[in-house]
């Protein structure tokens, strides 16, 4: 029987305290955080506290560690948060922290698996996300799995000494493209 937590390349699982050191390493790496909201250095203590606080996935915060199916190696994380039960709408955040797994289809597979979980198990109607306007690689992934560009929050981000636009994208129930075309 196929698992709802598994895609073709990755598996979602709950975060564990042992994950903290890798997350600490990734989220202090400017190459990883360039397209994320993080801007201050992270302590090991705060990373451990974060992992602790999100280690029981539930409707209030459906957070997952992402690991490879091939060797169960931790490569990133994905979270469905800010869920409004009346509107059945969640915000999605994703990061593939292990740079050696960039460009291998792992992000796409993670998106599909997490969104499918959101619709099939959490009964969501809408999943939305924000992506920085210059992050074309991520935007391409989101569009590939079915996300639609809805708008642009002009100059909503200030980082690296300049303002940047932030794009708003969303995926409605029934729009997820699960076909695994390259």
């Amino acid at each position: 029987m196929t698992s709802i937590f598994e895609g073709t390349l990755i598996r979602l699982r709950a975060r564990e305290p042992e994950d903290a050191p890798l997350l600490y390493q990734w989220f202090n790496d400017p190459e990883v955080t360039e397209h994320l909201a993080m801007r201050y250095p992270l302590s090991m203590k705060s990373e451990r506290e974060f992992v602790e606080s999100v280690s029981s996935p539930g409707y209030a915060h459906a957070g997952f560690a992402v690991e490879t199916l091939a060797e169960s190696r931790l490569i990133g994380g994905v979270d469905l948060i800010n869920i409004r039960p009346e509107c059945r709408c969640a915000s999605l955040g994703i990061a593939i922290g292990d740079k050696s797994f960039w460009d291998g289809g792992y992000g796409t597979d993670t998106m599909r698996t997490a969104c499918h979980f959101g619709f099939a198990m959490m009964n969501l109607h809408r999943i939305e996300l924000e992506v920085y306007a210059n992050n074309e690689r991520a935007r391409h992934v989101y569009e590939k799995v079915g996300f639609v560009l809805e708008g642009c929050r002009r100059q909503a981000l200030y980082k690296y000494g300049r303002y940047q636009d932030v794009l708003v994208m969303s995926l409605l129930e029934g729009e997820l493209r699960l076909d695994h075309r390259p």
């Binding site: 409707y59 869920i83 039960p85 009346e86 509107c87 959490m122 009964n123």
Partner: protein, 176 residues
Amino acid sequence: MAPGPFEGELIRLRAHEPEDVDRAFTWLNDPEVRQFLGRQYPFSRKDVTERLLPAPSFASALFAIVRKEDGLLIGDCGLFGASPENRGASLGIQIGDKTCWEGGYGTDAMRVVCRFGFETMNLHRIDLHVLAWNERAIHVYEKVGFHREAVCRDAMFRFGKYYDILVMGLLRGELR
């Protein structure tokens, strides 16, 4: 403007205020009212306050039922334990003011609170538990669209004996 989500024909729902506690305290300890409730123990004023005053939310949406003609508090109703994944919640209702029994107030309040559940909370299913001998209540629930789903045998023990509890359910689109 169309009637708001809290308006029925005879009643209106609102959040509770501290001034409501005394009146609710009185009927929640009145044996004639309590015979229909699933509680063995008396309510303290603190119990009543803690039950009525939290702000209604998805997790626990309790409303005061007031008579439209004069704003008199006559009971309460609510949707509890809503599961966002299953989009189901359990309903509870009581008309505590005995002079308002048989006047259509309960039916009206049922319709308003169920409509609120579907249209404002986006629920898919509402269920309730009722003592199986409480035919007057069951009649009201069936009138607004609830279906008899299951009898839980001997599910409640009070006054020295067991009573059956009937589970009833209403799906989105079935409200009359």
